[in-house]
Symmetry: C2
């Protein structure tokens, strides 16, 4: 197939007519498809159904430390849950607090505390005239929104092959003490699937921030979310790298079992240095008497350890792989060689990241919607929902069936083609 950019105006016009006919055809089918959010499918949630049986009315509900999980107390989480969650992200249990079901909520609270009380004696961010957060993009819209909500100026940092542009990160944080943090998804980054290289992790650990209360918000959301058994990249443990670099307090790490057990009923965690954790626990003592320890116990007894988690994640992978492949196959077969888009082929996580020709993403998403396919809003992967190139589109293949995805993929590539042709015709 010829590259679109090499087509004459006549060829493009002819192609356009043909694509429009195809599109009208698809539109007529009244499809209702959704590739917008990284939600596990019901089939994946079924994988963990025995989690709901492991603790029952006849169970001994005491944690390893003797704490009755049904009662008040234990704000840092029960020991067996701390051990499990620590192993999951590759740190020590004493570096961990286990929370409720939402790691987003834990991140939100962490920023909120910094707003009202400051970090380690530094000025509360709410009392600053201005503060900034670095946002590697394409990235996770909900991260960006948390800091936007609290009034931070969001500064875009380009996402490169092996992580954020560290030259830029190093320069910015060392020069500007109003930069208080950076959002990171170090493994299978949302949406690009990027895995931070060892060099990137080490450069993070060795940052010399101008702000004493600068923190890396290290959302290890996809730490165990591999798609393949035989190709599982590992990232360095940021906590020990920071410690080695003499920056033990510079990072807050987050994770959850939302995409391991249940997206609505998992457990979440924070890992950090002893000094950070001591401060968080002090604040938490006013906030709550403790999180749901029964659910922590369920998770600890069901998964047992990292082997248990890994085995379980391979079942998720078996469900997810055909879905990723369904989308990737359509992209390859229908867009390969046309020069109107590039896309990632991730080894894990929940997304395929698609880059259209500049100025086309919004129109593609709108076009797909016309035919009944909901995509993540174009621009969502950038701060303020504003992709300066209007190019990136996040594809979330987890929720629909492979059959639906094959159809959705067709709608998507048709939308990409149509919008690209229009764009080229405008420029011709």
């Amino acid at each position: 197939m010829k590259r679109y950019s090499e087509m004459s105006k006549d060829e493009l016009l002819k192609l356009k007519n043909q694509l429009e006919a195809e599109f009208e055809d698809v539109k007529g089918k009244g499809l209702k498809l959704d590739m917008s959010r990284g939600k596990p499918a019901a089939e994946q949630l079924d994988l963990g159904k025995e989690l709901l049986d492991i603790v029952n009315g006849e169970s001994d509900l005491k944690a390893e430390n003797g704490l009755d999980t049904r009662n008040y107390g234990g704000p840092e989480g029960i020991p067996e849950a701390k051990a499990l969650m620590a192993e999951m992200v590759g740190t020590k249990p004493e570096n961990v607090i286990v929370f409720g079901n939402s790691s987003l909520n834990v991140m939100f609270d962490t920023v909120s505390r910094a707003m009202t009380h400051g970090i380690m004696g530094n000025t509360p961010w709410a009392k600053l005239d201005h503060f900034k957060f670095l946002c590697p993009a394409p990235g996770y819209d909900r991260h960006f929104r948390v800091t936007e909500y609290f009034g931070a100026e969001l500064v875009t940092v380009p996402m490169l092959e092996d992580g954020p542009d560290m030259d830029m990160v190093e320069k910015l944080v060392s020069e500007d003490d109003s930069i208080k943090g950076i959002w990171c998804v170090p493994k299978y980054s949302n949406p690009t699937g990027t895995v931070y290289s060892d060099e990137v992790v080490r450069r993070f650990a060795n940052l010399k921030p101008a702000a004493k209360d600068f923190r890396i918000f290290w959302d290890n959301a996809y730490c165990v979310h591999d798609l393949y058994e035989d190709n599982q990249p590992q990232i360095l443990d940021i906590l020990s790298e920071c410690e080695k670099a003499g920056n033990p307090d510079m990072v807050f790490e987050f994770a959850s079992t939302s995409k391991v057990s249940f997206a609505g009923g998992g457990v979440s965690m924070m890992a950090a240095s002893p000094a950070n954790l001591a401060e968080v626990k002090k604040h938490m003592s006013t906030q709550t008497i403790g999180h749901d320890k029964i659910n922590q116990l369920r998770h600890a007894r069901y998964f047992k350890n990292m082997d248990g988690i890994k085995a379980h994640m391979m079942k998720h992978a078996a469900s997810l792989r055909p879905k990723f492949e369904a989308v990737l196959n359509v992209l390859e077969s229908d867009l390969g060689g046309l020069g109107i888009g590039t896309w990632t082929k991730p080894l894990g996580g929940y997304f395929i990241s698609f880059d259209a020709m500049e100025g086309c993403a919004k129109a593609i998403v709108a076009k797909a919607k016309e035919a009944g396919l909901v995509m993540t809003g174009a621009g969502a992967t950038y701060p303020y929902g504003n992709d300066p190139k209007d190019s990136n589109i996040r594809i979330a293949p987890s929720y629909p069936t492979p059959e639906e995805l094959a159809v959705a993929g067709k709608v998507f590539v048709l939308s990409v083609k149509l919008v690209s042709v229009d764009k080229l015709l405008q420029e011709a």
Copy 2:
């Protein structure tokens, strides 16, 4: 028995010798007793064990509205949980958001949001030079601590027989726009067991606060926590009273099942006007994708409705009544007529409130500790932990067994007697 205040110095000295001997005797027993916190006993937690079976691996986990409780979404809670929690506090489901396991956390977040973002367009409290919260006392230490944590000046309002001193509340809130809220536990108030009269509730609903963002924090923590089947006082529904009074937005109501199902694994709720809820939901959309809906489903399916909750609470009452009676019996038999203390005889809730002679509470708690009995710290029931009369002691009888309570009661009354004799001798 003679009133201590009518005893001569000689009589007091003789009594003191005798009490000290008794105390040494008790001390020698090496007791380890705890009447400090309102924790349910294991026996009470066992009552709800079937709650853990009602949702299992074979269950249909869809909520009434078709939402898969295992997946993301539904930040306001599933319909059946909203209905249950609404009925529990006597309001409509559309006035309710169901949260995670901790209502304290919901209250904390409510204050935190007011700090960083303000309420309904008013100045965020963090940006004010100064703001105040009214604290009816004796009251709940964790309430007071939340607002102290956020920098509010805590203003004590005396707790009277039928609720807070409303003359004072009305005057203060109408004159001072820096007063942003008041903490209330309207039924079986912690620790006095006070039940707000209809008049008090109506006076609350008809407040004319100077501050537009003044809110009543109505913690209906003990709404269904009656001790007796045949004597269950009802309070008016604050939301509808506020609506009638033309103040629909003036109240945030809170409750949880922490002392209905599990103190560590229940569900919590907020009830408020449509305008308040809309604002809360807007904020929540940044904070979380939703709370644990599986646990909400468990609660809704297990308790079904108010009849289910009421029947369950009578089982709790059967466990708690002998405990309250064990303490009340010792107080009556050993302190009755001595004029050295008064105490409440609550119809529900978790506490007995004891008022010692002025200046004696701290010494009594310290004395009891010498003999191995831990009480709530004296002063805890007042803002800043400072009881100006050093008189109030909170007794929490729920956690120990009735047998332990009989012993603990003896240690307590002995401590009261000893400290009172000392006080009278000093004054003699």
